[in-house]
């Protein structure tokens, strides 16, 4: 006689990453767990947005090297994961990004200057989260996964037709908050989609020193939620998987973990030195999996994109880059008095006294 426990209901993700469009731009024969490739119209839009965000990342990285921004963590190379996942969101859904998800915030519609305010040093968050249904980018790793879970729980309790999507990375997968969020979301069956961008490095630490698991998506099974691994450089796979997971969540069937295999082409931030921990051959190797090249090939072959279309998107990308330069070349108006303005809803006498110290210092400096 053995202990009476359920012996069914657990499933592990398939080992082969879900992929529709291979690195060569041709359709793959990978099993896709019932997911369908997005329409040509959707793919064309995703192509356009990926080109835009790549140009955005390049421009911001360039401006950072020029000293216009204090620091910048680029998601170059990860455009498919950033754009594919974020585009799947409905307006009522909420996005919970990290510091590396400017491309996602741009895709969500947050204005350039408001995204970059944090990295330029103007203010820790430059936009109104309620306006864009986008949380401030979390800097402490994995903390945002719990916020996304709680937000979704409130949506569920209120009967709102809304889901949440949060990004995290392979490094963050080791943080306790990640595991707590997976567990809370699954126990509470919240409409939450965890998009784990496995870009192979946590600053300098490679994946093999981060985990001994076969794959990070396997972790979902331990929390009783579906997990799947997608080719994170195939925007069709990311979009399809996240769309299905969001629908699943909104339909009351709980959270999903999606591991998107990708690669961080740039350094961690501009102050990083990747030559100390990875060789150029590895970076070159990953270039063959480029998310934009493959989609362009696919769309050209499908007859929905031609030279003129590519040029038009490239022009739009240049226009975006120009707007980034313009935005970063305009100094934001920063009022030091604002240090005190938002800390508390209920004003504090002692804080007013400290503000008077600052006022006096400003007056003495002639800047009042």
């Amino acid at each position: 006689m053995t202990i009476d426990v359920p012996t069914t209901g657990r499933s592990l993700p398939q080992l082969q990453p879900i992929s529709f469009i291979g690195a060569d731009g041709r359709l793959t024969d990978t099993p896709t767990e019932g997911l369908r490739i997005p329409s040509d119209r959707t793919l064309t839009g995703l192509y356009r947005q990926m080109v835009l965000v790549r140009r955005f990342e390049a421009q911001v990285t360039h401006l950072t090297r020029q000293g216009r921004l204090a620091t910048y963590p680029s998601a170059a190379g990860q455009e498919a994961a950033e754009v594919g996942a974020t585009t799947a969101l409905a307006p009522n859904d909420w996005l919970f990004p990290t510091y590396r998800d400017s491309a996602a915030m741009l895709t969500r519609g947050v204005p350039v200057a408001e995204i970059l305010a944090a990295f330029r040093g103007d203010w820790h968050c430059g936009f109104d989260p309620n306006e864009y249904h986008t949380s401030p980018a979390a800097t402490p790793l994995a903390t945002q996964t719990l916020h996304a879970t709680g937000f979704a729980m409130a949506a569920k309790l209120k009967g709102e037709d809304a889901a949440t999507l949060t990004f995290l990375g392979d490094g963050a997968s080791s943080e306790g908050d990640t595991h707590e969020a997976f567990n809370f979301a699954s126990v509470w069956q919240t409409p939450t989609v965890f998009v784990l961008q496995n870009n192979q490095y946590a600053i300098s630490t490679p994946l093999r020193e981060q985990t001994n698991a076969t794959m990070l998506a396997d972790r979902a099974a331990g929390y009783g939620m579906p997990g799947l691994r997608v080719d994170g450089n195939d925007v069709a796979a990311v979009f399809a998987a996240v769309t299905a997971a969001l629908e699943r969540g909104r339909g009351g069937d709980g959270p999903t973990l999606i591991e998107a295999l990708t690669y961080r082409m740039e350094s961690h931030t501009n102050s990083d030195d990747p030559t100390k921990y990875r060789d150029t051959e590895e970076v070159e190797h990953w270039k063959q999996f480029d998310p934009i090249d493959r989609l362009e090939k696919h769309l050209r072959r499908a007859g929905v994109l031609d030279d003129a279309g590519v040029d038009e998107v490239a022009e739009a990308a240049e226009a975006l880059a120009a707007s980034v330069r313009d935005a970063m070349n305009q100094e934001a108006e920063i009022d030091p008095r604002e240090l005190f303005a938002h800390v508390y809803a209920n004003p504090r006498t002692a804080l007013r006294e400290q503000q008077q110290i600052l006022e006096a210092e400003l007056a003495a400096a002639g800047t009042a």
Binding site: W94, W123, H124, C125, D128, P129, N130, S135, P136, A138, P140, T143, T145, L146, H147, A148, T149, G150, F151, A152, M153, A154, A155, L157, K158, E160, T164, G176, D177, E180, A181, N183, F184, V187, E338, A341, H342, V343, Y344, A345, N346, R348, T349, A350
Partner: protein
């Protein structure tokens, strides 16, 4: 006047109710009571429970969750009966993970809710430290006031209950040294009710610290009761020679010290701080200027503790009015001890009176 601290004599970590608790006169801030309502003997636990019940009834956005707060009603029974009354969508047991509790409360607050969450014991709030300090405290400032987090974090704290290790910490200084947090601690049932109601209504996040050793303290009062506003300290015993500052569990110690001091001809004024952050400079300084001497009592260790801030700011504001250095009468700078040693650790009436005697009273 009889005094009963409700001390558990066993090393049980999760005491429930104390059958030996007797009625005490608190001398505290319950004066604004509604005389017309029926008076009854109310423990602090019951007062907190009623505050939660009334908040849940008045506002659908109020949610109560945490470890064992549902079916069991919390290890101290503060949430007893609430799940049955309001259902599992308003009051429920969460998985056992404190960072998860605070982190999800943040998300809920961002989506219009007013979560009231329980950290089961002081030291068990530490896994949530990052979420509290990096997000709860900072979200409003980070978003220029566009995202407020009206979260109430209830933390049973302090010792004198015979608790095993990690069940008796006084963690207030971690929270009071974090801008963005309001830190409240009642010392009696009436304040427990009124301050918890006000904390839950606050747009600012509140760390609401409940003194475990006072949970079983009884007071005759009628609920609902409205006491002095949050953010105000209260003179709860008038005196002319010394101002004794206390909060939470040590208010009783201060009152007992004042009683004992009176027998030696010492007129001690006692102030219950009630809210630790912000600090009520106005009320406390007025008292210190009157008495010219002050001491603060807390269970937490002395070095870098809350008393250091109080002593420093009172000295800065009132130096020329002082006749003696401001004293800190506290737990020792050692880890909180095991139950058989806590009587030697905690500040007692004797330690308070000895400290006051150390001043040169001729000055």
């Amino acid at each position: 006047m009889s005094v009963e601290t409700g001390t558990s004599t066993t090393a049980a970590a999760e005491p429930t109710t104390d059958p030996t608790a007797v009625d005490v006169e608190t001398g505290a801030a319950a004066s604004a009571n509604n005389d017309a309502a029926a008076q009854s003997s109310v423990t602090m636990t019951k007062a907190l429970n009623q505050a939660l019940r009334d908040c849940l009834a008045e506002d659908d956005a109020v949610l109560v969750f945490g470890e064992d707060v549902g079916r069991l009603g919390g290890v101290f029974r503060v949430t007893e009966g609430l799940r049955a009354e309001f259902g599992p969508n308003r009051v429920w047991d969460s998985p056992l993970a404190e960072s998860g509790i605070i982190g999800t409360a943040i998300g809920m607050a961002m989506n219009g809710m007013r979560p009231v969450v329980e950290m089961q014991f002081d030291a068990y709030a530490y896994p949530a430290f990052e979420q509290i300090v990096s997000h709860v405290a900072k979200m409003r400032n980070r978003t220029k006031g566009q995202v407020s987090l009206p979260i109430t974090i209830r933390i049973p704290y302090a010792g004198d209950i015979g608790g095993v290790e990690h069940h008796s910490d006084s963690s207030e200084a971690y929270w009071t040294s974090t801008p963005g947090l309001t830190v409240v601690t009642p010392s009696n049932p009436a304040d427990a009710y009124s301050l918890l109601r006000e904390s839950i209504a606050s747009e600012d996040p509140v760390v609401f610290m409940e003194p475990k050793s006072r949970y079983w303290m009884k007071e005759t009062l009628a609920l609902p009761v409205t006491t002095a506003p949050m953010n105000r300290a209260q003179v709860i015993r008038e005196g002319t020679d010394v101002t004794l500052l206390a909060y939470g569990p040590t208010v009783r110690t201060a009152l007992d010290s004042a009683e004992a001091g009176a027998e030696h001809g010492l007129s001690i004024e006692v102030i219950d701080l009630r809210t630790l952050s912000p600090f009520d400079d106005e009320t406390v300084s007025a008292s210190v200027r009157k008495t010219s001497r002050a001491a603060i009592i807390h269970e937490a260790a002395q070095f870098g503790g809350y008393g250091a801030e109080v002593a420093a700011r009172l000295t800065e504001h009132n130096f020329t009015h002082l006749s003696a250095p401001i004293l800190r009468i506290t737990g020792f700078d050692v880890p909180y001890p095991s139950p058989k040693l806590e009587e030697f650790f905690l500040p007692t009436v004797e330690r308070v009176l000895d400290a006051l005697e150390s001043w040169d009273w001729e000055l």
